[in-house]
Amino acid sequence: MTDNVLQIGMAQLAVGASPQIIRSAGLGSCIAVVLYDPFARVGGMAHAMLPRSRPGREGNPAKYVDTSLAEMIQQMLDRGCERENIIAKLAGGAQMFPDSERELLVIGAKNIQSARDCLKQSSIPLVAEDVGGNWGRTLELDCSDGTLYIKTLHSQATL
């Protein structure tokens, strides 16, 4: 059973196929970029920390929104997905602490904007999102149908 759940943490990404589940717990200011191909029934999730990589300093692709998206698309194409079938969902990008004066504390909003921009540039339709707020989220992507389950301390949602 445990092989069925791909667990990812901060600055990690995973691509899985039906009936696998990709899970990421405790998403704060990071953003989860979720991709899904309903025909291949293959999905991906990246738990990205920062909006954009700097050229020449990419390192771990899952750390940044832009490079994690490119890496996931490539891995999904390698697993037989068609680029034009891929859709996207976004979750996360919270502002965990109320003080908005400090630049570090508003990184969530930048992650959201970067994810929307990068998806647009890649011509991947963004079909749903649950972003912002000031609470953490735990996510599960069901690769059999692309449903994204979102849990917070006080609520649950399904995208």
Binding site: I8, G9, M10, A11, Q12, A25, G26, L27, G28, S29, C30, M49, L50, R54, R57, G59, N60, K63, A94, M96, F97, P98, D99, R102, L104, L105, I107, N134, W135, G136, R137, T138, L153, H154
Partner: protein, 205 residues
């Protein structure tokens, strides 16, 4: 940052954590009038994905007070209280209050921030005395949420230059019932600056 800790570096950073936490614990003891004990700090370098495992496992909900550290040895301090401890601390400090952990009043939030501020201040002033360097904390800010989600904020600070974080984590107890912890997360390169301060040569590097 190197992804492993040499013996000598770990030893020094454990000492640093002990000195800071000891002073923070006496500040807390003075505040609530009870005896506080501390454990030996855990010092580790971990990839971002493993940070939550080190801080008590994923999906734990705590009151987390975040403070920036400025000066010669910059970084982040996080003061964490579990639900029961936070509620009892607040009831002790604000007589007659019926604390609801998930909907704190502004007064309770500011009391927790102030406790974080006092503990962090005590921690950092002990380190500053020990090292002869300046260490000052910024304004405290509070979140009651999943610890891993909260940790994304200090990790973001390290993210552009590193794939790992150095954590110095100590826990303090009041009669084994109530516990809290203090995390010091030095910025990139600060661990080396600490070694240099003491003239420690790390042959294992």
């Amino acid at each position: 940052m190197s992804t492993r800790l040499s013996f000598i570096k770990k030893d020094l950073l454990t000492e640093v954590g002990t000195i800071g936490t000891g002073n923070a614990a006496s500040a807390l003891a003075g505040l609530i009038g009870k005896k506080i004990t501390i454990n030996v700090p855990k010092v580790d370098i971990v990839p971002f994905s493993a940070v939550s495992r080190l801080v008590g496992g994923a999906e734990q909900v705590k009151a987390c007070i975040f403070l920036d550290v400025h000066g010669d040895l910059p970084g982040t301090v996080l003061v964490l209280f579990d639900r029961k401890t936070a509620e009892e601390l607040l009831s002790a400090l604000i007589p007659g209050s019926r604390v609801k952990f998930f909907s704190l009043t502004p007064m309770e939030e500011s009391a927790l921030n102030e406790i974080g501020n006092i503990l962090s201040g005590a921690y950092l002033s002990a380190l500053a005395d020990f090292t002869g360097k300046s260490m000052l904390s910024g304004l405290p800010t509070l979140a009651v949420d999943i610890v891993e989600a909260v940790l994304s904020v200090p990790m973001t600070k390290l993210g552009p230059a590193s794939d790992v974080a150095l954590l110095i984590q100590a826990t303090f107890f009041e009669e084994q019932k109530h516990s809290g912890s203090i995390l010091f997360i030095p910025d990139q390169g600060v661990d080396q600056r600490l070694l240099d301060t003491f003239g420690v040569v790390d042959n294992d590097r």
